[in-house]
Symmetry: C2
Subunit: 194 residues, 2 copies
Amino acid sequence: MTGPAGSICGYTFDDYVEMVKKFHGSPAPGVIIGGFMVNLALRLLPPGRLYDAICETSVCLPDAVQLLTPCTIGNGWLKVLDYSRFAITLYDKETGEGVRIHLDPQKIKSFPEIEGWFLKKKPKSSQDLNLILGEIRTAGESILTEKRVKITPGMYRRPRMGPVAICPSCGEAYPSKDGTTCLACRAGFISGGD
Amino acid sequence: MTGPAGSICGYTFDDYVEMVKKFHGSPAPGVIIGGFMVNLALRLLPPGRLYDAICETSVCLPDAVQLLTPCTIGNGWLKVLDYSRFAITLYDKETGEGVRIHLDPQKIKSFPEIEGWFLKKKPKSSQDLNLILGEIRTAGESILTEKRVKITPGMYRRPRMGPVAICPSCGEAYPSKDGTTCLACRAGFISGGD
C-alpha cells in the first residue's frame, strides 16, 4: 500500500516508528528515512504490479523494505548489495523498469541533526535521537533524490537450487551443483557431523 | 519469547502460519519449519540473554528468524552465510555460546511429503502444500537435530562504517575506508549521477 507524500505507505509517522521499534529493535534514523524512501518509490511506480527490491547497504534499509513491501530476504525478492550506499531500488519483476531513491547529501544541509548523523559530523555520543527523528519527520521526502532506472529482469534473482544431494562430510542436504561436498564443509564452517 | 515443544515461540501453529503469509507472502514450508527451529534453539538456550543469529542459507530461514527473534538483516544481528545448508545458529552475543539447529535428512524418512519437498524427490508440480504443512505440523521438532556450538563473539558482526566521504563520481555518501570512490561506482553499478 502506498500513500501521499508525508505518510509512509499508508501509516502515520508515529505508527511507522512503532512498527520499526518492534521489528528493528529501535527507531533507527536509517529505517525511518527508509520508510519515506519506500513510500516515494511506490508513489512513482504504477500500482498493481509486482516489484523486486535492491538495497545498496545491509544497514537499516532492508528492514524498511521488509516492513513495507512484500520483498524479504527469505523470499528472495529483496537483494542486498553491499556497496554501503544509502539507496533502494524498486523495479518491475517483468519489465525491470523501476526507480532508485537515495538520501541526498546535498539536500540535508538545512537539517543539522540528520547531517550530523548521516555524514558522521557529530560523534555518536552527541547525537540526539529525538532531534534527529524530529528533523526526519519535518524533512519527509525533501531530502531524497529519485532516478528512473532499468534493471535487467532476473539479474538479481536468486538462482534455482537444482537437485539436492547429501554431503558426505556433514550429512546435511545441499545443492549438488555446489560440488562433491557442501560449501560450508569446504569453507571449514561448523560441521554438523562433529 | 519462547514456548514449549509444539508451539512456535508462544504462537500456535496456525497463528504462525498467518504471520508467515503476511511477511513472506506464502506459507512456505521452509519458513514454517524455521519456526520450529527458532523455538527449539531458544528453548535450549538460557532465557534473558541477547542472541545473534546465523542462517546458512538465504532461502526462507532468514524470515523465520526475523519474525521470531529481535535479529534482522537491517540491525545486523542476523547474518546470512550463503552455504545453502538448511540450518540456523543462535548464540550469545557476549560469550559466543549457542546452538545450531538443522533439518536432518535422516529424520524425515517417515514424512514423504517433507522429504519430497526438501530433497526434491518430487517435482514442484506434484508437491501438495497442504500435505507438506500437515506433515510439518505433525513432525514439529522431531525432524531437527541440535548441536552446541561456540562462535567467536563479534566474528560475524558488521564492521563499523567509520568516517563518511562523498564519492566524487556519484556524489553520494560512502565509507571513506572503501577508497577514493564508492564500491558501487567501482563496480559499475547504477550511478546516481547519470
